[in-house]
Amino acid sequence: MLEDIDLVIEAGSFVALLGPSGCGKSTLLRFISGLDQPASGSVVLSPEANAQEPGTRTKLGFVFQDAQLLPWRSVLDNVALPLELQGMSRTEARERARGPLAEVELGDVHERFPDQLSGGMRMRVSIARALVTEPSVLLLDEPFAALDELTRQRLDERLRKLWQRRRMTVIFVTHALAEAAFLAERALVMSRRPGRIVLDQRLQLPEERNLDLRTDPDFVAQTALLYGALSRHGGLDDAPIDP
């Protein structure tokens, strides 16, 4: 499914992973997180060597495409979950959960339940949960795909600010070129199955980014580059339909 992936990602960098459906972006993310094992090859996470066991060495956060909250837990308890699973007491975990919730600006909905929140809010809770263990690596798999454009852009902005504050390594899988360009320092474009990296581009964009950036000519140029790589290696026109 994946072929010849040989990547080095610097600590603290923000990397976007792009590619057509089914190319294996999500699979790659699962390999990195340790949820699945590749048939050959290995994933090495610094500073600890060889973190194949999920959750044991390098602290990881994962944000899924679905918020994946436990419906029977309140917002605060959902965010506290990872800490509880790693052995912390319930009270302490709940205390610690307040911080990330404040960071995503959900300080006033602690005792609400997921079915009482909007899609965007649920996603923010999911992000807060991913941050609660203070991960050095944050993985996101098309987290905002199900949200409307406006919410999506707002969350993009929030995410970038979070990253600037905390400086963990972020690997962000997305379909949306503009989003990738807005968020990342480096963009990786994958081809159709078997997925190979066909473009590894450092984005020439300013450090401080806001929503106006999207109309900036530099931005448009960068996006065009990505689009070119994508369409050459994964577009609909020359593709036989994936089985």
Partner: protein
């Protein structure tokens, strides 16, 4: 907030109430008009009369059967959920023991009841075991299904953080399984009454406490069909009552725990 008045309930009460009145009237009318022998089909008036004149005995019988049914149900609930959980944790266990659990469902309880009397003792013991046997399987099956219905992505989440098995069971699988378990309990509640009554047919009764099953048996023997109908009616009501109890507890629980469904 608007208070619900009787008028709000009327649309849901009226149709079944009307149907009930019509059925009773027809029943009474047909029996009288065609002079149907009263020992074959007693008119509702006979049944009511019998129920009233034997009300003390019938009430005692109701309580006795209720004891057996409730005891059997509680046994099913505890054993059933435990076994379901055990099965979910060990494929090996499940493969080995599931056929026996299934066997409990299919064994003809009437044939087995004398053995139950022998093994467990007459009266309440045999009756509650009979109720248990008849009602345990739905609980096992539904608990197992519920535990297996965990969203794999949530499983991923737990795995990501290296959750221990105990945490996964307590914090993920059981909460997911609760709606299914409630369904199983609801099904089992009605079945436990049936099991108790069938058990009573055979197992008899302890000193001074005849259950509804014995009342039916004795009434049939003496051709007191009116009394028989009254006892059968009470048995159905008992089953309904138990079902309603379990059902409303389950709804309250699900609402409070905000489990899905």
């Amino acid at each position: 907030m608007k208070h619900s008045t009787l008028r709000d309930f009327l649309p849901s009460i009226l149709p079944p109430a009307l149907t009930f009145v019509v059925v009773i009237a027809l029943w009474e009318g047909v029996v009288r008009a065609f002079s149907v022998p009263r020992f074959l089909v007693p008119p509702p008036s006979d049944v009511l009369l019998a129920a009233w004149s034997e009300r003390a005995a019938l009430f005692g019988a109701l309580l006795t059967t209720a004891q057996g049914a409730v005891l059997g149900f509680l046994l099913s609930a505890s054993v059933g959920t435990t076994v379901g959980l055990a099965f979910s944790l060990s494929r090996w266990l499940e493969r080995g023991l599931y056929p026996y659990a299934l066997f409990l469902q299919t064994v003809p309880i009437v044939a087995v009841a004398p053995l139950l009397v022998l093994w467990f003792g007459p009266g309440l013991r045999a009756v509650s075991v009979s109720a248990f046997i008849v009602s345990v399987f739905p609980i096992i099956a539904n608990t197992l299904a519920g535990l297996r219905s965990v969203d794999p992505r949530l499983s991923d989440l737990f795995r990501l953080y290296g959750a221990k098995l105990g945490d996964t069971v307590l914090k993920l699988r059981l909460p997911t399984a609760i709606p299914s378990m409630m369904t199983g309990l609801k099904v089992a509640s009605g079945l436990s009454v049936i099991g108790a009554i069938v058990g009573e047919f055979v197992a008899g009764f302890s000193e001074g406490s005849a259950g509804l099953g014995i009342t039916v048996l004795a009434a049939y023997r003496q051709l007191r069909t009116d009394l028989l109908f009254a006892a059968v009616l009470l048995a159905s009501l008992l089953g309904l009552l138990l079902f309603a109890l379990v059902s409303s507890s389950s709804t309250l629980l699900l609402r409070r725990l905000r489990a899905p469904g």
